[in-house]
Symmetry: C2
Subunit: 205 residues, 2 copies
């Protein structure tokens, strides 16, 4: 195998396993050895490829987490159909995935923000960047909806974005452990109710 390919493959394997364990047990509660044990690799292999545990995690964020959030929460609302439907379906899908995941520990980004907040400024910066991208995309989606005439033109796009992000992050935590399916259903009902109040009164053009 090409050396560079082998290098990439090993690093990728480490990162994928690392993300899963960090998500499941928390960053500080997961040791490098835990990750290496699953892969039958050694300390030497790890520190050959990565500078430190922190560097390792930042690479995970850049390589895996960004894409994950993007594909689950941003890309699905980029279309040009009815914006509120797009967001509604996007949330519905994301929550449904969580419901069916026995190993669900909440919204990955939310969990890491909680863990690193006030403890590691460097990592927080990377996580906040992802949040900001999400926010920007939500805002422009809503503005698109206003432009298309689906959303009332008096609606505050930034406000709605903050409200949506809050609600989503919160419900993901709330769904962990206690009646995820019922809570998802109730949450989505109220979300749609809220969305109804944002719709333009007149028929869209």
């Amino acid at each position: 195998m090409d050396k560079n390919l082998k290098r990439m493959a090993t690093m990728q394997r480490m990162q994928v396993t690392g993300l899963r364990l960090f998500y499941t047990n928390g960053y500080y509660n997961t040791s490098i050895d835990d990750i290496l044990k699953e892969l039958s690799l050694s300390k030497g292999a790890f520190y050959y490829h990565f500078e430190s545990k922190e560097d390792f995690f930042i690479q995970i964020i850049e390589n895996l987490l960004v894409r994950k959030v993007y594909s689950m929460l941003i890309e699905p609302i980029e279309g040009h159909e009815h914006t509120l439907d797009l967001i509604s379906n996007c949330f519905e899908d994301a929550l449904e995935t969580a419901v069916h995941n026995d190993l669900d520990y909440g919204f990955v980004l939310n969990n890491f923000i909680n863990e690193f907040n006030g403890r590691n400024q460097k990592i927080m910066k990377h996580l906040n960047d992802i949040l900001r991208v999400w926010e920007v995309n939500l805002v422009s989606a809503i503005q698109r909806g206003k432009f298309n005439g689906h959303i009332d033109r008096h609606v505050d796009a930034e406000g709605v974005a903050v409200f949506l992000m809050s609600a989503y992050m919160g419900v993901r935590t709330l769904m962990v452990e206690n009646a995820p399916s019922a809570r998802k259903y109730r949450f989505m009902s109220q979300l749609r109710h809220y969305f109804k109040s944002l719709e333009a009164r007149t028929t869209p053009v």
Copy 2:
């Protein structure tokens, strides 16, 4: 000083400092020695009063956390005035407190749930109990509002409660680090907008 009083005083000091450090740095990132150092106490004193770190934390939950959540989020909505106004003011106050707290690390209950979820079933049970109390009180407040004629009788009280809890938990995380004041304002605007859509169409009796 009475021995029993002294005992209580020491335990109280440990718990108060413990909660602050656990909240600030996380449970697993705070060592017993960190807490004892601040109080100029020794390991011996700690293990004389508490069985273990876990037992210590559970007592903190029971003695401090429950009351804290109760006084901030439950007691303020127990009145008999317009329910949605009560909740709105309650959230406003809680968020305003957070804005003015330089050492804000998010909603304390949310943070601990994230940290212990899937890692410590025993502690999670205690945390979930608090959530459930909050939920029950929100539901009954909303039902009271329906009964009083302020809230539309078609409104799903359980659904609104889940939605409110989600939104609050989420916005507290979102407010950490990034423009807390602006986000609070936007959040509250949308919350009031949402509340408007829950009001009874006819004038209340």
